[in-house]
């Protein structure tokens, strides 16, 4: 932990100096790298959005083929841009108290950017245009617009984006639970029950919730993406449209939703700096985020309200969860932050103004979303532009605005100044008028039943598109003005760079030393990051090891000839048997790696463990297609070897999980063995 300092630049509230910590060089660099890349990506995707809106207004002419390419790229690119910026921002605020690894974050960056490039090529060069939700089996019905390589590349790109987020979530979960002593303590449940006096800070609790839900989403998303990737090289693979839709929406909805929760964790740290009042964890806060942990993972099913074959209870659960998700947001995040701001002599800067208007965007967009989450209302609004309206309200006017606010915060602090009041006022006015005008037009169109995702608008409705496009132009002007101010602040920060002396720091991840600039008040010792450590193994006690042995014995059934023969009746049961074999291997790996003697011998190979736990289940599912396993089944020896390979992939997964510590290891084990089960359900 670093000491409080009195050298913060004057952009912050004077009272905030008592609790605001100076950012380390690594935090500033990671923050700037992720923030700037994310915002540039968002800006590029925003331009695509403007082009699409102008096309709908018939101001410019774009063929439907190109419209859907841009629509697909716009969706994936926007979410990835928001994800990058908010991940960087969270790392920036969390690193002060939790030893996150710089190397992991750079790996996240490289993998995510590779994913974006793949999607870029798949859409622009390959013509892929099935939408960012790629609702199966649409990718395999291209209507002459794209080829197999572009759909494969699109899936790989999404897999990479998911993998990048996964690496980030694993590191966050590993280090928060190690720092605060296990999952229950990290989520503040001991504090909630009165067993402990103190709880982790708000950003740590929020980050842990995001990491858990993020890992679940990535596991679900990877499963369906791998299944679809397998389908590209084996056309005999069948897809259960309903199960696939559930998996796709669980992934897409949750990832998009999590960007706002990532940003919320950041806001808990940034807003107090402008309000001059610290924000601390309370019991209500802990209870609220526990609710969010559940609601984020259960709300997705509202995308399937109009699939009447989906069980009714799933729709009801989703409706309750969608409303339930509103409560922590309205009662804790937005309410508490406005309480913090009320009568605080709030320091109005470019960053703090953007932070403030973000709350309104979340609240107003959220109301639109909750209205649409009621089943009888969704019956009239499903897939109309109402949906586009509400999610653009909280994505543009909250998540994107907060992503830029984070960047502005970094630059303001480095520059030691903010933008002029007039420039800020004009910029914010343009963003508010343009943003709410754009989304307001969609709300009106949605209420009138105009469908979404139309390259050509229904006759008689182009007037709405012209109005919407006009507001979109105002919004673009607002963001242009914003970026000019950011560039000006960046130049000021660059000119001030010599104010900060160079000092030597130790890299917490590699143990090597590097030189970085810090403010004069910072001392090298105070800024040193605690070394990341691994605490515990997934099966820690004799009873747990015994449970592992028992589970292995039961899972042996997956190798019984009777079970194997019985599973041959359909691909689904066959895949289920493979899932059982994978489970046996994974459980054995978990057991083996948890044995004290083996664990000591392996040592702290966390990064290797992460690689194993990510790669092995993916490889296992990539070869689980009839085109690969059916020729092997003609020979009993090769058939047996194939099944042993399933277990071997499991073994690698289980061993890898043990290197991630008690909590993360268990979470990754459960998700990894769950993936083949979901695969069996979706691919038939």
């Amino acid at each position: 932990m670093e000491a409080a300092t009195t050298a913060s630049p004057p952009v912050l509230h004077p009272r905030a100096l008592a609790f605001t910590v100076e950012a380390r060089g690594s935090e500033r660099r990671i923050g700037l790298l992720f923030g700037a890349t994310g915002v540039v990506l968002i800006a590029g995707m925003g331009v695509l959005g403007l082009i699409m809106r102008l096309t709908q207004a018939t101001v410019i002419s774009l063929s439907p083929a190109w419209f859907y390419r841009l629509l697909t790229l716009h969706g994936v690119g926007m979410i990835t841009g928001a994800l990058l910026a908010t991940m960087g921002a969270l790392w920036y605020v969390l690193h002060a108290s939790v030893p996150l690894r710089t190397g992991r974050m750079l790996a996240t960056y490289v993998v995510t950017i590779a994913g974006v490039l793949a999607v870029l090529v798949a859409t622009l060069a390959g013509g892929f245009g099935a939408g960012w939700a790629f609702l199966p089996p649409l990718p395999f019905y291209p209507a002459g617009q794209w080829s197999v390589w572009s759909e494969s590349l699109f899936f790989v790109g999404n897999l990479l984006v998911g993998a990048g987020f996964c690496v980030f979530c694993i590191d966050v979960l590993e280090q928060t639970t190690n720092t605060y002593g296990g999952l229950v303590r990290t989520l503040g449940w001991h504090y909630l029950r009165g067993r402990e006096e103190k709880a982790p800070p708000p950003q740590a609790i929020a980050a842990t919730v995001v990491a858990i839900d993020g890992l679940i989403s990535c596991a679900v998303g990877s499963t369906i993406l791998l299944g679809l990737l397998g389908r590209t090289y084996d056309h005999t693979v069948g897809i259960d449209a309903l199960v696939a839709k559930n998996l796709v929406y669980f992934f897409g909805h949750s990832i998009a939703n999590l960007t706002i929760y990532l940003a919320a964790a950041v806001v808990y740290v940034l807003v107090p700096r402008y309000a001059g009042r610290p924000y601390e964890t309370t019991k209500v806060f802990v209870a609220g985020w526990t609710g969010s942990l559940v609601f984020i993972a259960t709300a997705y099913s509202h995308h399937l309200y109009m699939d009447f074959v989906q069980p009714t209870w799933a729709g009801i659960v989703s409706e309750v969860a969608s409303y339930g998700a509103l409560l922590p947001v309205a009662v804790i995040t937005i309410y508490s932050m406005t309480m913090l701001i009320w009568g605080s002599r709030y320091q109005w800067t470019l960053a703090s103004t953007l932070l403030y208007i973000g709350f309104a965007g979340w609240a107003i967009g959220g109301v639109g979303a909750v209205i649409d989450s009621l089943i009888p209302i969704n019956f009239r609004l499903h897939n109309t532009t109402w949906v586009v309206a509400h999610f653009h309200t909280y994505l543009i006017l909250c998540v994107v605005v907060w992503a830029v606010a984070f960047l502005a915060h970094l630059l303001e602090r480095d520059a030691g100044r903010t933008s002029s009041r007039a420039a800020t006022a004009w910029t914010v006015a343009l963003i508010l008028v343009g943003g709410y005008g754009l989304t307001g037009t969609w709300f009106v169109e949605g209420a009138l039943g105009i469908p979404r995702r139309y390259a050509i608008q229904p006759s008689g409705t182009s007037g709405y598109s012209i109005v919407g496009a006009s507001f979109a132009l105002l919004l673009a002007l607002g963001f242009l003005s914003l970026f000019i101010q950011l560039i000006t602040l960046a130049r000021s920060a660059w000119e001030r760079r010599h104010v900060y002396p160079l000092v030597v720091h130790m890299d917490s991840w590699t143990g090597t030393h590097y030189r970085t600039r810090v403010t004069s008040a910072e001392s090298g010792a105070a800024l040193e990051v605690a070394r990341p450590v691994r605490r515990g193994v997934p099966l820690a006690s004799h009873a747990q090891l015994g449970f592992g042995v028992a589970a292995c014995i039961v899972a042996l059934a997956a190798f019984f000839p009777q079970v194997i023969n019985a599973s041959e009746v359909s691909n689904r049961y066959h895949h289920l048997d493979h899932a059982g074999q994978f489970f046996l291997g994974a459980m054995a790996g978990l057991l083996l790696g948890s044995l004290p003697a083996v664990s000591r011998r392996f040592g702290d190979r966390s990064s290797l463990g992460l690689l194993m736990v990510l790669a092995a289940p993916m490889l296992m599912m990539l070869i689980m297609v009839p085109r690969i396993y059916e020729p092997l089944e003609r020979d009993p020896f090769e058939h047996g070897l194939y099944h042993l390979a399933m277990a071997a992939f499991g073994l690698v997964t289980g061993l890898g999980a043990t290197r991630l510590g008690l909590v993360t290891g268990r979470v990754m084990f459960i998700l990894s063995v769950g993936m083949p089960l979901m695969f069996a359900a979706a691919m038939k």
């Binding site: 439907p64 109309t384 009138l448 229904p458």
Partner: protein, 179 residues
């Protein structure tokens, strides 16, 4: 499509949202105005936490009422469909096929909707151009939508799920004849 009937549920929904959005905007305006003043932290806590309990209670009451009421008006088809005219709807890239393609006014219709290729959205618009209901057309599944068609005229069908290149022009009609 663009005509407006003020009695339509969508318009009521839109107006409700507009009122709530304006109230929220006003609240954020007031808070922004007050942010520049100096109020003691203790005072903010005392009043803020008192108010927050009531705010939570209000949201809970609204939630129970709204969600509870909505559950009594679920659009999912129930029962065997006896007494209903079954209209078999098949979606495909990029067409709708309906059999029969017309029913007499006052018919209780069960649309049995499926797809031969990808996911489509069966959106039914009344003769005034108002969306009166939708259901997904999914390959391998039959979704059943029950509607009572009390107005004669030509109903329009639009695709409400992205289904490929010609998604926005995937249209058809369904006629409700006078008796």
């Amino acid at each position: 499509m663009s005509s407006v009937h003020y009695g339509d549920p969508q318009i009521a929904i839109g107006l409700t949202f507009a009122v709530l959005a304006l109230l929220l905007a006003a609240a954020f305006g007031v808070i922004a105005f007050q942010a520049g003043s100096e109020v003691g932290t203790q005072r903010v806590h005392d009043v803020g936490y008192w108010l927050r309990k009531r705010w939570l209670a209000l949201l809970l009451v609204i939630g129970v009422l709204v969600v509870g009421i909505s559950l009594f008006d679920l659009p999912f088809a129930t029962g065997s469909g006896v007494g209903r005219t079954v209209v078999k709807v098949t979606g495909g890239q990029f067409f709708w096929s309906l059999s029969p393609g017309r029913v007499p006014v006052g018919s209780h219709v069960r649309f049995d909707v499926t797809s031969v290729d990808v996911n489509h959205g069966f959106g039914l618009y009344d003769p005034h151009g108002h969306l009166i209901g939708s259901v997904q057309a999914m390959p391998g599944y039959d979704n059943e939508l029950d509607l009572n068609l009390t107005e004669a005229g030509v109903y329009q069908i639009r695709c409400l799920e992205l289904c490929g290149l010609n998604h926005s022009t995937m249209e058809s009609t369904f006629t409700v004849t006078r008796r």
